[in-house]
């Protein structure tokens, strides 16, 4: 996958192949700039490779996939709509009756702690609040496929933990495929059936780790040896590739 700008081009992804199965919870981890967001956009069909394929639920992705909910890395809210209106945008664009989703929207906003802010505009929210609003927007229509790009990145540890548990519960309560980009190895391992580990820029899929643990994986799951093993494996892959090449901030 290469981004072109005139004569200049940036290779964002090396030879990458990814197959996602129906109902599966897959996480993608990898160093910053390795191509996770690019890969996620290809899964959604928003970016299309000229060669190579992405397969979701045995179908090759070609046009933008529409029966999904997506959380971009930045919140991407409409500045001129309130939080509630932004959430209902998902429904309006799909042509569903708005009134049928109003209560569910308020329920979800309550779940992420935004009930009191439903009539405020995005620029009046804190960074983490905006992110939570965009998560609600992705969930409101009960999509069978959920793509999330670092959805909990701007949240504090406790809120994050809570929302992780809520997400797992939601996923368990009904069939849903989730592709989840995160920087938290804990989160990846605690949530996923498989963790896709990517190599540094220009990235490719380095390894795919299966996480066989019973669910729900509550707070205690961190003590599970499977958790520990998976986390250690991923950390080792990362360490073996190294990260920043620079010499730190101090002057040389």
């Amino acid at each position: 996958m290469t981004y072109n700008r005139g004569a200049k081009s940036t290779q964002a992804l090396q030879e990458t192949s990814l197959t996602i199965r129906k109902g599966e919870f897959v996480s993608i981890v990898g160093p910053s700039g390795c191509g996770k967001s690019t890969l996620l956009k290809m899964v959604s069909g928003l970016l299309r490779p000229t060669s190579g394929t992405i397969t979701v639920d045995q179908k090759v992705v070609q046009a933008p996939v529409t029966d999904l909910g997506i959380v971009f890395q930045s919140p991407v809210l409409l500045e001129w709509r309130t939080v509630l209106q932004n959430v209902l945008m998902q429904v309006e664009l799909r042509g569903y009756p708005k009134s049928a989703y109003h209560d569910r929207a308020v329920e979800l906003l309550t779940a992420v702690g935004l009930r009191d802010f439903k009539d405020q505009y995005p620029h009046e929210l804190s960074g983490g609040m905006r992110q939570r609003a965009s998560i609600v927007r992705a969930l409101i229509h009960d999509p069978p496929l959920l793509l999330m790009d670092e959805p909990f990145g701007a949240l504090d540890a406790l809120t994050r933990e809570q929302m992780r548990i809520d997400l797992e519960n939601l996923w368990m309560s009904r069939p849903m495929t989730v592709v989840f980009v995160t920087h938290s190895l804990d989160e990846a391992v605690l949530l996923s059936d498989r963790v896709v580990v990517m190599s540094p820029r220009p990235g490719r899929v380095e390894q795919i780790i299966n996480v066989d643990m019973e669910r729900p994986r509550g707070l205690g799951a961190r003590a599970n040896p499977v958790f520990e093993a998976a986390t250690r494996t991923i950390t080792e892959i990362f360490l073996s590739r190294g990260v920043l090449q620079g010499g730190g901030f101090a002057r040389h």
Partner: protein, 274 residues
């Protein structure tokens, strides 16, 4: 230690009504100042009436001839209104196709630019020959002058949208039209309104030019007559009537902007907090 509070330091007022009042207040003050200076200049320098009539005289004449001005003004107003609406109806779809179809941008757009640079006033007499004496040539003049500002501004608007928002919209499978209506258009509206405002100030002038060329009514017709009679005071009264109509149109557009353009909930204190 007491609670922190930030005083509102910006001048925006949250609801359009009180804001409109504020504006009208300043406007009235400005107008009064101009009138006083004008009258003073005319009186003190004893400027003859045919060079510059004083505001008192103009207002007297204006009041005395109000029925004529209103009758002719309404004729002009309908030319302005129809031409302006036609301009909007053509300009916005055109801007859309220029913004999104490279072929249109490359072939039609330069033609429009060229057309725009033809002085309509110079060919207006030909319009009569080509299109007869009716409403059509007049509408055409207003249309031609008003539509270009709207096109240029709308192109800027439709091109300036955040692409990730469109990406989101595409994942919903919404039709191009619905994405336009719900996302692209609201995002472009502030820019579109820049063009609508400029066009609003162009339209009355265009209507007068059109009436100069072919009309037996309307403010342009009156102006020709009063100019012919060297009735400068009534010329001014007519011009003022026209200016009032133009300003009304402008503020109607501004009001429409406040009502239609999705606000972001005009906040204060957010990042400036003086």
């Amino acid at each position: 230690m007491s609670e922190f509070a930030v005083t509102s330091g910006t001048w925006r007022v949250p609801n359009w009504l009180s804001s409109a009042w504020q504006r009208i207040g300043g406007f009235v003050v400005a107008i009064c100042a101009i009138l006083v200076i004008w009258q003073a200049a005319v009186t003190l320098l004893s400027i003859p009436e045919y060079i510059l009539p004083g505001p008192r005289l103009v207002l007297e004449q204006w009041a005395a001839n109000l029925p004529t001005l209103i009758a002719n003004g309404s004729a002009t107003a309908s030319v302005i209104f129809l031409g302006y609406c036609a301009a909007i109806a053509v300009a916005i779809p055109l801007a859309l196709s220029i913004a999104f179809f490279p072929v249109v941008a490359r072939t039609i757009y330069p033609g429009i630019v060229m057309l725009q640079n033809v002085p309509k006033i110079a060919i207006a007499p030909l319009f009569i020959i080509w299109f007869g004496f009716g409403l059509l040539p007049k509408l055409l003049v207003v249309f031609l002058l008003a539509f270009f500002p709207i096109v240029v501004s709308s192109i800027a608007g439709f091109s300036s949208i955040n692409l990730e928002i469109v990406d989101f919209a595409r994942t919903t499978g919404a039709s191009a039209f619905r994405i336009f209506r719900k996302v692209r258009l609201p995002a472009a509206l502030p820019h579109v309104f820049v063009g609508l405002r400029i066009a609003a100030t162009v339209a009355p002038t265009a209507a007068v030019v059109a009436e100069f060329v072919a009309s037996d009514k309307g403010l342009g017709y009156l102006l020709l007559r009063y100019n012919g009679d060297l009735n400068t005071a009534m010329s001014f009264a007519t011009i003022i009537t026209l200016a009032i109509m133009g300003v009304s149109l402008y503020f109607i557009i501004e009001l429409a902007e406040r009502l239609i353009v999705p606000s972001r909930g005009t906040a204060s204190g957010s990042a400036t907090g003086t």
